[in-house]
């Protein structure tokens, strides 16, 4: 029997039952896809987690869960962490173990994390401004590439921080921020974040604010309290919800700056010795802060995370075997239903081998199509795994 004829007759048979063929292709493709895609996802996620952790040498933060602290600093997750006092950051900087980068990641603007930090953060992560310029003034922000693309934002546009609770009038301050630059994409959570100066983050926190100068306001009444010691503005004093070139001078801070909050501080030690000293200092349980090696914390997290995912992998594999067994049964039943057709081939003069080739090729075409489909899915998953994982963890 000619090879071209085997291909032709098999193709005709497959086309005659398109639904059956497509269902088989789909079932086998999914069976092949899920375990391998999950494996790819696990591997890629492990790489992504480790890479970002490795590029963050040390992390200092309040005592508590080292994993929560790491995830907050690396992925800007919104865990409720106790605050690290600004004075701790100053103390750390004075010790001169290395470069210190403050992180205050508590707020959101829409769904995007708002990160108060310093320009050193961009250098650490290799972030560059692709459009516009970096923030220079209070209330300026630089946004990640994904956010800019998804929300169609450009330098000159504004973005407003979200209040944590709409009824909390005295709480988080909805600040309209001016976008000065868009970061080049680097396929990390930075692409979805909004970066502001620490002071801007503290304005949102409610620790600083700006309002009309009382002495200049003609509409305001100044009241002296009963002892005649304090000036009190009445409720009609206009508080600014945006920093502009004209009102920037009216913004001022209240309270002791040493008590201002931070989430964590990234420490990039000058050398191995300074790293050891920092580890020794903050490793002492009497200190109020903890020091975390992100790579170690991520490894712990990965062990738990991937143990769970491996369970899912096992489940997918078992389901896959069951689905393949079902597909095999469908093939066998199908061939049984077509027994008469095969008998006709034999009666007319097809050899047993030719009939086997016809059936085999049908199976092969279905398996090949399913494999190609599954492989295409795996390639897509591989390319999207980093983004999916980043979104999942954020």
């Amino acid at each position: 029997m000619r090879s071209s004829s085997i291909v032709y007759l098999s193709w005709k048979a497959l086309r005659y039952r398109p639904l059956r063929s497509l269902l088989l292709i789909g079932t086998i493709a999914l069976t092949l896809y899920f375990p391998r895609a999950l494996q790819e996802f696990i591997n890629r996620s492990e790489e992504v987690l480790s890479a970002r952790a490795r590029s963050t040498p040390l992390l200092i933060g309040p005592r508590g869960s080292s994993i929560d602290l790491t995830l907050n600093a690396l992925y800007f997750t919104s865990q409720e962490l106790p605050a690290l006092r600004y004075s701790s950051y100053e103390a750390l900087s004075q010790k001169n173990y290395g470069k210190t980068i403050p992180i205050y990641s508590r707020f959101l603007a829409g769904q995007s994390p708002l990160v108060g930090t310093s320009l050193a953060y961009f250098k650490l992560r290799g972030l560059t401004v692709s459009t516009g310029r970096t923030m220079t003034r209070l209330g300026d922000c630089v946004i990640g590439a994904n956010l800019a693309q998804n929300e169609n934002l450009q330098p000159g546009d504004t973005i407003t921080s979200s209040p944590e609770n709409i009824f909390d009038l005295a709480g988080v301050y909805p600040l309209r921020m001016r976008i000065t630059g868009i970061l080049a994409p680097n396929r990390t959570p930075d692409d979805d974040a909004i970066f502001v100066d620490l002071k801007s983050a503290w304005i949102i926190e409610g620790l600083a604010h700006g309002h009309e100068e009382l002495s200049r306001s003609e509409t305001l009444e100044l009241q002296r309290d009963s002892k005649g010691e304090f000036l009190r503005a009445n409720a009609s004093v206009i508080e600014f919800n945006e920093v502009t070139d004209t009102n920037v001078g009216d913004f001022h801070f209240h309270g002791d700056r040493g008590n201002y909050p931070l989430s964590s501080v990234i420490l990039v030690p000058h050398n191995q010795k300074q790293r050891a000293l920092a580890l020794a200092h903050y490793g002492d349980p009497v200190t109020a802060e903890q020091i975390v090696i992100p790579a170690v914390a991520v490894e712990q997290l990965a062990k738990t995370l991937f143990a769970t995912q491996r369970l899912a992998f096992t489940a997918f594999t078992l389901l896959g075997i069951a689905a393949l067994a079902l597909a095999l049964m469908v093939f066998l039943l199908s061939f049984r239903l077509r027994e008469r057709e095969m008998l006709t081939y034999s009666k007319i003069g097809a050899t047993g081998r030719a009939v086997a080739c016809l059936q085999g090729l049908e199976v092969l075409v279905i398996i090949a199509a399913a494999t190609i489909l599954a492989q295409a899915g795996i390639v897509l998953t591989r390319s999207a795994a980093q983004d999916i994982f980043t979104r999942l963890i954020s």
Partner: protein, 207 residues
């Protein structure tokens, strides 16, 4: 079944008649080499088909024997044209162009050429039967075995189909062995055999 001797000469047309279940179809299958006799020989030209291995028997059948089945046995996912070309697809020595030309001529003669690209499921029983006849004749076999080939045809097409089989048998020196119940048509055959007379097995058991 016990057949002491049976002979069909080249160009001879034989009608095999007998009641249902007497073994006529089995006899055709034995001659075609689809089933093997427990003993004895079946020669087609100089070849004893009972000694051929399965694959050789299949190849021999493909090139030398044309089969028309009672239930048409068309492949449902192949068009009428592809069904007629099936012997080519299964590996007969004749080229595709030759088989296709013969097939189209036969289909035209039998009135099914307009259905060349149509699936058998869209055809009537009679049209399917004619497609099966065209398939069997397209290879110009040395021996044509037909099991009730006209059972589903109207009188006009019945006559046409039988005339065609007779004509090709005479023109190409083919043997034609037809199992039929249709006593109106058996006059046209060279020889009429009552299968019960041919089969000696029942008689041997008689005291």
């Amino acid at each position: 079944m016990l057949i002491p001797e049976f002979r069909c000469e080249a160009g001879q047309t034989i009608a095999l008649v007998g009641p249902s279940g007497c073994g006529k179809s089995t006899f055709l299958n034995l001659i075609a080499g689809i089933i093997r006799p427990s003993t004895g020989s079946i020669f087609i030209d100089e070849t004893d088909v009972t000694t051929l291995k399965r694959s050789a028997s299949a190849a021999f059948r493909l090139s030398r024997i044309g089969l028309i089945f009672q239930e048409f046995e068309l492949i449902e996912h192949l068009s009428v044209g592809d069904n007629i070309l099936l012997p080519y697809h299964l590996g007969t020595d004749t080229t595709r162009s030759v088989i296709e030309k013969r097939g189209r001529d036969l289909a035209s003669h039998l009135g099914i050429l307009p259905y060349w690209d149509t699936l058998p499921s869209a055809l009537s029983h009679g049209e399917r039967q004619r497609a099966a006849i065209a398939r069997a004749l397209s290879t110009r076999p040395r021996l044509l075995l037909a099991d009730e080939p006209t059972g589903n045809l109207d009188p006009e097409n019945k006559r046409k189909a039988l005339d065609l089989m007779h004509l090709t048998a005479k023109e190409h020196d083919q043997g034609l062995l037809v199992v039929t119940h249709d006593l109106e048509l058996i006059d046209s055959f060279d020889t009429i055999i009552h299968f019960e007379e041919l089969n000696q097995s029942g008689k041997q058991l008689m005291p």
